[in-house]
Symmetry: C2
């Protein structure tokens, strides 16, 4: 009998976990003793806060990062054959979405292991629903290129794709480049294109606003180094 | 001073709301007296379960459906200018994603109303994270066409797009056509293409499995009339 793989979300910042994840979920994983995580130190702190205080030292941690090789991840997956449940935890938000855990989930399916996702805060989904843009048709393209000319080309492509397919484009950027990204969006996109900035989602200071490019140029905005999701919509 | 617009998720089926939405969220909306909903009867039942029992008859309900005109929705948005908070509730999952509430959210932004999304179960996001497919690049195209030939053409397009962009394609279908859709996917897609079926997410009988088209053809599956999300991945 195989163990199961639980997919456990984490808060998007330093806010109390029970505000954004049902405590019922913490009960469902209370028996788990093995965790696949991106950073052991922050995972220990998180588990402490959700009911594992006092037994952290009895837990097994496996690290998965963008530098993990397929062999590393296959090694972690061997755990399943011992019949023990394991939980994959994200650093922030939903695991295996825009983070390196998906390879472990794929191996779980290959091994016939049951995969059990739990609900929690998804910055992409919460930004999408709060943007007022088309939620019937959308795409997420991850991080945009870091180099200015490649990034601007990419933004123009995304705007064109949005116009062609009436598709909301969701993008993210590392916090320290948030302001540069917004400036690039405002410089390459058409005045009528809608742009949503969703910063600090679920956190104190949450800021979510949708305006046209023309509106943003007029009003201006300094995001500073806050985590933010950007959405672009050029459809009718 | 404008009111705010709260975006409140609902369970994906008849399971207890507190299992999938943090009770903290119910506390945050306890003072709200106006609700924009798809179906007043089911909204009343849901609100009863999350703390509004005994005061349901004092609440104001506005119906938003796919048949609502822009004028209907502008009429609802007049509520904001009275300075009162309002909540938009989905029939299932996250409001304004794959449901008609997005127009109200767009009007809120136009009126400078603060939009506050809450976390909860997103069948699309939970299916994506549990699929083991690429979560760094994905697209949701909503419902596929109902007519067989148009649907098969569309599925082939989605498979090609997935291969070209290494992009996970997420699609949904009304429950009574789930089996027909799976059969169409298996008949038009390449043997090596991966297909995830995620049925009854967060509900008793939850079933989530990823196999190649060749694997599904061999194993077979009868989904019956359960709500399901389908994911296709043809990238490397």
């Amino acid at each position: 009998m195989n163990g199961r793989l639980f997919l456990v979300p984490a808060p998007l910042g330093d806010n109390p976990p029970e505000e954004v994840i049902p405590p019922y979920v913490f009960g469902q994983i209370a028996h788990v003793t093995a965790f696949a995580v991106e950073d052991i130190r922050t995972a220990r702190r998180y588990l402490s806060r959700i009911g594992f205080r006092g037994k952290i030292d009895t837990l097994t941690f496996y690290e998965i990062s963008e530098h993990s090789s397929m062999q590393d991840i296959e090694h972690i997956a061997e755990h399943f054959s011992e019949g023990l449940d394991m939980a994959l935890i994200s650093e922030a938000g939903m695991p295996a979405v825009a983070d390196p855990g998906a390879a472990l989930v794929a191996l779980a399916h290959k091994a016939g292991v049951e995969v059990v996702p739990f609900p929690g805060p998804s910055s992409l989904m919460m930004a999408l629903m709060a943007s007022g843009m088309n939620g019937q048709c959308f795409a997420f393209a991850g991080y945009v290129p870091a180099r200015t000319d490649a990034r601007r080309r990419r933004l123009k492509e995304l705007e064109n794709r949005s116009r062609r397919n009436s598709e909301t484009q969701i993008l993210i950027e590392t916090p320290y480049r948030s302001d540069a990204l917004l400036q690039d969006i405002l410089s390459v996109c058409e005045p009528s294109t809608k742009v949503c900035v969703a910063a600090d989602i679920t956190l104190p200071g949450q800021y979510i606003r949708t305006l046209t490019v023309a509106g943003w140029r007029k009003e201006g905005l300094v995001i500073t180094k806050r985590p933010a999701v950007f959405l672009i919509y050029a459809g009718i």
